[in-house]
Every structure is written in C-alpha cells, then in structure tokens.
Symmetry: C2
Subunit: 330 residues, 2 copies
C-alpha cells in the first residue's frame, strides 16, 4: 500500500552511536558517539534510554526547536515493551505514539508521520529509533556472559539512536512516498539467519512500491535495505531477479553492510537493529543527498518479527519491510 | 494533541473472549467465547494468536469483506515484540502497522486509522488488540505455577481479542475526534497498583481533550477509561476534581470494572489488558449507542509502559492515555 506525499520535508536529524559504529567507516557522519556500551548509565537498557534522549536533544538544538514546539513523537525500539521509547517519551513530554516493527521501525514511523503532516493533521513530528548490542543480545539470545559463538551469517545488533524531524517547511530533502509492507512468513526458523528471513518481505515491498508507482528500479539512484547483511544482500539481488524480474544489482546496497568495515570488525554478516537503517540513512545517505551526489533514494527497512518466546516454541519467523522514497528538492 | 474527524465511521466489530469474560456480566454481547485458556492451541501464546485471528475473521464476515478489500491492518498486544499481532498479520496478508501502547493500544490504533481515513490516504482499516491472562502473567510477573497471591489493588489481565473495521462509508457510529496523549511518570514503582499509576495520564488526556475542543465533561453521556479498576476509578474522580476542576463523578465508568462481576469473580480490582477497553466499548457500549441509549462517548484507553526488565531494575512506571470521541450519527 503506497501513499504519495507532496508536502513533507526532512528538516534535521540527530544520530548517536556506540563504539563499534564510531570505529566503522561512517564514523565522521555521526553527531555523537560513546566509547563504551554503558555510556555512564548503570545498565545497558538505561544506556540505550540515554542515547535516544541524546539524539532527540541534538536534533532539537539543530532544528532550533523546543520540546513544546513538537506536535508528535513517534518512536520504537527492540527492547520488550519498547521501554527505551517509552522512557524517552516520558522525558520529552510530547504527545507520543509507540510503534514496533523490529528493524523496520524507522520507515514505519516516517510513513505515519508523513501521512499526518501531508494531510495537515499535524505540522511537525520527531520520529526516533534505537538499538543496543548487548541489551538486545541479552534479551533475544543468550546471557552475554556465555560468550556463545555464532555462525557467520548472524547479524550484529548495532548500538545507536537516530531521530529525524519532519515538517511541512520546505527543505533540501523531501519524503516523496511511503509503502506499508505486508508480513511474509517463508517458514524459516533459524534466528541466526535474519538476512534470509527478511529477503522475501524486502522483495515484496520493493516490488509493490515500484509497481504502485509504475517505476523501474533504475528510477532510484540508490535502493538500500536495512538490514540484510552481506549474505541477505546477495540473496535479495537474486530473489528480485528470479521472482519479480527486477534487476537491482547496480544500484542496491544494504545499511547493515555499509555501517561497518565487515572484514575488519567482529560483526559477523553486518549490522542489524532499528538504528542501523536510520543511522546510515540520516547521517551518510542524506549527507550525500545534500551534496547532490544522490537525488532519489528508496530506503527499505526490514524487520524480523520473532520474540524469544516464539523462538523457544519453535515457531517460524515472520518478517516485514516498509519503504520510503526520499528525493532531493530542486 | 487533538485531531477532529468528519468522515470516519465504525462499520463493524469482532469480539472473542476467554472463560472469565464470558462468565461476566457482558457475556451476551461477545461474538465468540472459549471455555478454556488453551482454546485448542498448544500454548497460551498460540491461543492468543488464534483468538485474534478469530476476531478478524468474524469481523470480515460481519462487514462482508475479503482480506483483499482491506487497505491496512493496525494491531498491538502485550506479548514481547507484539508477536500475536505479527503472526495474525502474517495470516491476514494485509499491509500492517504494528503498534505498542500497553492497554492504551486500542485507542492508539483507532486514532492512526481515523487520521489516515479522514485524509483519504486509505479507504478502510481494521484495528485490533488482544491480551491473554496467563500468557501475560507468565511474561510480566511470576511463573504461573507459583500461584503467587497478589494484593487486592492488582488488576487481572483479561483474555480476549477485539477488532474494529473503520471506513469512510457512513454508518450509525462515527469517530468524531482523537486525542494523542503524553507519557506521564509520577514516580510509582508498584506493579500491583496499575490503577494509581495510570490515573495522572488518564486525567491529563481527558483534560487536554476537553480543553482542546472547549467541552465540559457533561458534553459526553459517558466517559470511560480502560483500565483503572475499582480503586483507580475512585482516584481518577478525585484527581480530576482537585487537579483540573472537572467533575466526572456522574458520567464516568471504567471498562475494567464493567467487564467483570468484581464482587463474585476472582479478578482483584478488575480487568486490564489492551482487549479490555476494546471488548467493553465495541461489544457493550456500541450496542447501547446503536439503540440510542448513548449518543456521545469518550473512550480513554490507558497504558502502563513498564517491562519485566525495568521492573527488575527498580525503575518507575511511566503511563499514557489516548482518547477517542464516539458519536451517534443522526
């Protein structure tokens, strides 16, 4: 389901990361980075809350707004009951919509915000996401003290928080359209193979987006997913070609691959987590758009929708992808 | 933040419950009830998934629509990573937005759907919520085998699923306005006192709604919260009077109190869970509206935004409330 917008602009972003991300190739694009995973807080969960609050504070100062000027805060994260977003909303005291779409949350929030802004139901909105490597590992997999080894095809939950301020005030980058995805369950149960799990959802959403808007893949200077990792990235290129007849091999990349130096950092197949697509898009891709090095970008955020409980009950892993079309305003 | 709608109608609802709810005073209003908490499934989580799927299937048959006719499915529940909604979305194959607002989820979903329908960005939407007593107890509190006693002021997570079909097709009941709440944290840490935890958020949202629309409490034939329970209900009446100067003592009730026969069922201070406000509103209150026994209703869904992890870390419990104004169309 695709919605077009003609009045929604990106006026600013705020990005905060942990140490692995600031040691990666995109380091210089982030607004703030912490050297360790506790970030001065008592627990990893509280560190993630601190990071998300930081990202919104940085964003507010960049767009020169006070909290009182913000109509709506839409946020989501990986922790149970999206507590990072909830506590950040308590700190911000802005009307709040909590959402969950695993790593697809960034695009989900932007689509909701853009729909409300484009129809003049609100004037502006801050959308935010976060993830924290060890807080997520502890919750979704084994106690981190085990140091359990994982297969190479695993992804590495990134540590970061990213916020974006959208409004109807004209600016360099606009949200041109959004596609809300369907949940796809291809029957995979392997929680260490998220790339493969999410490929059919990513492909379905890209296909739906292009078909709804009567576009070819080459309409976009760049199509990025977040996050399939190095193996999922290869699978998606094949899958788009064989299932839908679309060739994305020349203008497609994956945020999970872009965030790290995969060959030299201990991050398995690349980054995952809601923050990954947002960090790469807001900090790096939008920077290239501002410099006119990219004009049209399709960001496809992908989420694997399992929980620790459904994994223990040997259930399959459903997945979803939402897409947003970003465009440089002439 | 209040949004007014002039083109959003309730065309149908689907309600499914467990045994405690069908033994309560509203039994005859529900579409379907199960006699036991497993409902023929292997686990409580899978029972909840079955129940939510049932409620949507019942709704689709009542409004005479196929899944393909539905533009959007918005859903949320209490289980980690809202897996009940995710698996139901995988079954439905309708474009999906996953949300989380604890027991405020019902109103949160309706506000998002109404905003998208009112601005003609979508034509129709199904919003759904669910909760399951033992699945939630197991996740949020102690292993159910402990049979741990709880204080009287505790609430009892109801077992049920409720879906509502909204569209721009004129019908007897309209969604007239929605108020998106702010998160309020009044510093309470007692997870057995949810009524008290959520009162300040409920009061803030009712006050904001009435003030934004320049209305007095008596504008509404009925103001209902979901769910404060018997103690929270009394506190809210006092709190509205002393903090905001609004007297709601004569036209206010609480869905958590209405769902059960509190004096004769083992449900402590009353129902909680996202399904509670939805079951009572869709099945009972809307029935009264259709019979013209009620004309204007303000439904205020309240959510406590903690997780098991934040409880263990002795953090305070933030809460939120979203409100929707329902009106009989003349």
């Amino acid at each position: 389901m695709t919605i077009k917008y003609n009045n929604v602009y990106v006026n600013g972003t705020g990005t905060v990361t942990g140490p692995y991300e600031s040691n990666g190739p995109l380091s210089k694009y982030f607004d703030k980075s912490y050297d360790d995973l506790y970030m001065g807080a008592k627990t990893w969960e509280q560190a993630e809350i601190k990071m998300l609050g930081d990202s919104v504070d940085i964003l507010l100062s960049k767009v020169k707004k006070l909290k009182d000027h913000i109509d709506l805060f839409i946020s989501g994260d990986l922790l149970n009951q999206i507590v990072v977003s909830n506590y950040t909303a308590a700190y911000l005291k802005i009307p709040y919509i909590g959402i969950y779409g695993a790593c697809s949350t960034s695009a989900e929030g932007i689509i909701l915000a853009a729909s409300l802004i484009n129809s003049n139901q609100i004037n502006n909105c801050i959308c935010a996401v976060s993830s924290h490597n060890t807080a997520a590992e502890k919750q979704f997999r084994n106690p981190t003290e085990y140091g359990a080894p994982k297969p190479h095809r695993s992804t590495f939950t990134c540590t970061g928080a990213a916020s974006i301020y959208l409004s109807n005030k004209k600016d360099k980058i606009k949200i041109e359209a959004g596609t809300i995805g369907k949940v796809v369950d291809s029957g995979i149960k392997d929680v260490f193979n998220m790339g493969a799990v999410m490929v059919p959802a990513a492909a379905e959403t890209i296909y739906r987006h292009l078909t709804d808007l009567k576009r070819e893949p080459m309409y976009y200077d760049l199509i990025v997913t977040g996050d399939l990792g190095i193996y999922g990235k290869r699978i998606l290129i094949d899958y788009m070609k064989t299932e839908y007849g679309f060739d994305i091999s020349s203008n497609y990349d994956d945020c999970g691959v872009m965030l790290y130096d995969i060959n030299n950092q201990p991050v398995y197949a690349g980054a995952s987590g809601p923050a990954s697509s947002a960090l790469v898009t807001y900090a790096y891709i939008m920077n290239k758009m501002k410099k006119n090095e990219l004009s049209k970008v399709l960001m496809v955020a992908t989420g694997a929708l399992m929980s620790q409980t459904t994994t223990n009950q040997k259930m399959t892993i459903p997945s979803i992808a939402h897409a947003i079309s970003l465009e440089v305003v002439e």
